[in-house]
Amino acid sequence: MGYNVLIVDDSPIIRKMVAKTLKISDLNISGYHFAENGRQALTVLEENWIDIVFADINMPEMNGMELIEEMVRRDLMATIPVVIISTERSRERIDSLREMGISAYLHKPFVPEEFARVVRDLLH
């Protein structure tokens, strides 16, 4: 049985790009779920078993930091690994994300090989 992933980004092109990178990365992914913002992501997390979340920070309605805060508050979501994929380069903000418990941080545009390595390390 493969892993279920949730890709959270307001950009449809990034959602497709992340999914495509996962598909060609020889990772055992069986289910792809998508959300346009943190609020939609919480609904997906409530209704599905998700093994790993990929999330942007800058999104409308509920951003990536607010999503992580909500996940940390909920016991069933608190241990799901979260990989942030963002344009954010501020050291202070990235440090804050690490303190909040994210599993990894990747800058856009990410290198597919690095992306696959990070995901493989988290899932295995």
Partner: protein, 157 residues
Amino acid sequence: MNTLKNPDNEIVLRVLSEVFEGFAFMFVEEEPDFDSEAPVECLCARIGFSGKSAAGVFEIVSPVDFCEELAENILGAEADELPPDAGENALKEVVNVACGYLLSEKFGTEEVFDLSIPETASVDPNEWRSLFVGGSYAVYLVEESPILVRLDSATAC
């Protein structure tokens, strides 16, 4: 307000090169002498930013045809496999990523900036030439297609 000055052009070229190469395997060069009188159907993607030391907007104006080519390259897909808004979304994402990167290169990673959600608007084809002739935009060629770039920033008090 400051538009792109020479030292910024160097940073912008480096940032655009990394973003276009990283996202789409497309190569960028400066083209200060670019001129073309033909009207071009184009899109303007814009993102706002605000931080302690500066606030402003970053814009990229691009021919619609190039936006579609950009989406094809980002997704590694053929034109007929793309959703209807793929070109517009590709340009929005490039402006988003380039702005975040540009701010860190210009102001350093100690500075915290808030970015707006990127937006796009159509530009009248007949206005295309006036944009780069006016000098407010710097012209770059991405795989021989012109794009116009503008960074307007005001130093915060």
